[in-house]
Subunit: 298 residues, 4 copies
């Protein structure tokens, strides 16, 4: 098939290579022309603008967005609407909030354009070699685009999950689980690091990656990380987050679902952004007030 890919960052770039390698044609575009020109050398068709992407496709046009979540998705859709027509298909493969995807589907539906919300997992390596895709939208129309997922997903690595929004919702929850798993693994190594034993963390992560109950891709990546920096001396324990963990907790609150582990994983990330805390000062001051306990002066 021939599709357009808008957004050629780490994920989009790798997806295009994956599609090309699997026999599809891809018209590529990005605000930055460089990655598109690189991809043109390996078989992609370069488009200088969003409008040009549409012009280079035949109906029904299929346009895949792989741009940062939020306003940029809307801006791209705003420019696509005038140049697409009824029956065309827009796929958002980014980390959009599922409620925004539902709203976008309605907006596009008014012009007869079909929308699919696709959660993408597997990291940059997955995008290049075979990733995991969770897809929401119209089940019948999905048949049109399914060959794309057959091409770029690992075996059993894509799922038509249900009505619009269900794809990004699933990806959101996937990331919530990911936060919890990562924190669980990290806490385990925290305990090891404070113990009297003298563990080689790379060796530990390797043995846990082979045959144990907790074997997982994340544990393999833990092994990789320790193989490069045995004590992680080179980095600080600042745990950034990019939004989907927060969305999972907010959604859990809305649904009155008790998710303590996912919530705590997120809160510990926030805690890690600070070297000292105001709440700590309040507790320290209170201990001093009632018991005369010493405080650490700043």
């Amino acid at each position: 098939m021939k599709i357009g890919m808008i957004g050629l960052g780490k994920m989009g770039y790798n997806l295009v290579q994956n599609l090309l390698r699997n026999g599809h044609e891809v018209v590529v575009n990005d605000v930055n022309p460089e990655p598109g020109q690189q991809l043109a050398k390996v078989g992609a068709e370069f488009a200088a603008s969003i409008e040009e992407v549409a012009a280079k496709l035949t109906t029904p046009r299929i346009v895949w967005l792989m741009v940062p979540a939020g306003n940029i998705v809307d801006q791209v859709i705003d420019r696509l609407i005038p140049v697409l027509e009824a029956g065309d298909i827009v796929i958002d493969g980014g980390n959009s909030h599922y409620k925004e995807s539902i709203a976008r589907a309605e907006r596009l539906s008014a012009k007869g354009i079909q929308f699919f919300d696709v959660g993408t997992s597997g990291g940059t390596e997955g995008a290049a070699q075979g990733g995991c895709f969770m897809i929401g939208g119209d089940r019948v129309t999905f048949g049109v685009i399914e060959p794309l997922f057959q091409a770029i997903a690992i075996d059993n690595g894509y799922l038509f999950a249900g009505k619009i929004g269900s794809g990004h919702f699933l990806k959101m929850v996937h990331n919530g689980i990911e936060y919890g798993m990562m924190q669980a693994i990290a806490e385990g190594f925290e305990v090891l690091s404070k113990s009297d034993f003298d563990y080689n963390y790379e060796d530990v992560a390797r043995v846990w990656s082979n045959g144990s109950v907790i074997r997982s891709w994340l544990m393999e990546l833990t092994e990789n990380a320790f193989s490069k920096d045995p004590q992680l001396d080179g980095i600080r324990g600042v745990m950034q987050s990019s939004g989907e963990g927060k969305w999972t907790v907010e959604t859990a609150l809305d649904l009155e679902a008790s998710t303590p582990v996912i919530a705590l994983s997120l809160l510990m990330r926030y805690r890690s952004l600070e070297t000292d805390t105001f709440h700590g000062k309040v507790v320290a001051a209170l201990r001093n007030e009632f018991g005369g306990h010493a405080v650490v002066r700043s």
Copy 2:
């Protein structure tokens, strides 16, 4: 009544003054002679040794220990046993683990000596002016020592809680609740401090101390703390702990009681002892591994 007080730190010293003011006689002893000599000036009877405490009392001797929890309690009891006799009474008013109190009661019981485990709350101010006492031991013998608590406790501020161990158990749980309350208050101020509003924290603590649902002595102490240092700039948020919160969590684990708030209050204290964490490094390294997310270099 006449009793002996061994251990004249912040708590013991204030308790002696409280007892003297309320008409009791107190023989005082501490490893450091100075506080005992000070108390002798206001009516206490100085004893140079533990043995001398016993010698200066008449049967049934009543000896109150107010020494640091742990081995020191046992050391004092070891020295008391030879100089006490059947029918005498030992009171441990310190923060001992309730299981140790049960063991000590058995040891003393073998010589016919009664033991009471007394949890003391209210801080140094409470010890001086009227505190809160949770008492475990033999109910009948309790009648002998009850006048002491009528003297030094605030109205309704003492409770015969039940069999041996029940006093220190109650104090332990009290401290667990205290950890949770303090952390809850502190988290509230953390949210205020990160908000767009420009609160005067002392004013906030004052209004919350007067008529609100969360009015409490801890909130009044929060007001005090902010009155001295409006932003707590002078102290670091290092939250030490002295053991009873940990015992509460350990006990909850043994009892299979779900106590997330008390547990997290303790874990956040441990977290505050570090400016960076190994678990944070592991999570940061993992984010870099699967998504190429930037890490903060150390």
Copy 3:
């Protein structure tokens, strides 16, 4: 002063009595005429409609809303706007979200009407006898309405907290702290209930209310509750929530503030709404899968 009170539920009704007793005049209105008629017997002026409230006041009119948070506040304001004029004052004493209060202030400001967001604490008893009020709005205009708070608040029980929104924000955080404190207290009794000791919970709550570090109004209420039902046999442990705890956690997430205790207090409430959980089934099924551990059949 003379003011209008719209909303005569538990809180509004008691506030009117408080205002009347302290020498103010109050025009009262509610969708249900009965409470207003009752209050008319003790000196309030009954108004059959929102419009009639405005008609019975002289400029600058002061109208206090004590209606359920959410749409109803907007509906009342929609009806007030046509019958108020520039210089009049609207006070929302309910549990509104601070962001909605900011939006309402802007809407009213377009007509020259001043708005104050007032967080009210102290329960129904506080409303009647002297409560706690956290007030956001224009500092200069606050002088006009301050006599009301001098009348109905306990000493030091009101605070002009800052610009619009700061009153309801403060009340929201107050409730977050309240959730944490309540859960901490409750976990303590959970541990007691599972222990080998045989505590009288009312006695425990009483002794902890007198002289202890954790003495607080909530502990006094705990004593009251146990005095009526010593083991709380008559009620189930279903912990409802009315929104402000959730808002506190959502706000903490937005501010990247780590508030584990408040978050967990909320999540345990959600957990309590269910007698069985889907996440529990997943864990039980997994234990069976990898270790052959028995499951409990439903």
Copy 4:
């Protein structure tokens, strides 16, 4: 090599088959003769008693214990000591507490017997087909028994972790991580189950098992579980635990390591053992006290 295996439950039985298949000779014993008789049919040598195990081995005797953790391990060791001699080797492959393993090593060392603490992971399937082994003990002597692990472990599936105790410590922490991972996965499905979408959980677990960041053996087992019971209708969400998660948390407390996710995973298991809670009753009663909120009557 020829070794003795004492304890032929799910794990021991499978390990013997694994050893036999890989060319080792095994003398088998269990309090229940049946599994040993079964194994005798496929090449094992049956021993009617612990003493007979020792008698059937040649020096240096190697005896592997695969019995329930706790007193039973000590009872077996008590019977082994008289029939073993200096230079013999005892391996404890069960889920013993690492501190007990250190104590046992000392006890055996007094007779010149070497002891290895071996944490075994991978479930019953791993024991049969190739598991994961974490080994503590004397590094030089380890060379003697290493061929066993080369036979029964999956590739890279065993690790000599360090001095005595380090094997069981590692297994303990492994289980702590396992608790956290399981709870994270389960919370994700909890959110899905409360959402408006209509997910097929088996399909979701399958797609997450293929190419996603959270792919893991536990996710594959989740797929298996849903394949048998699509909504897990047949089981209750009672999450039992067998001790190692609790040990991990206790150890974390001792080490002052902040492990909120592992701790909460355990506390949610305890919570799941109850359909109603005392702490819930206390919170519900308090809400009624201060705000007149309705309670659910029991």
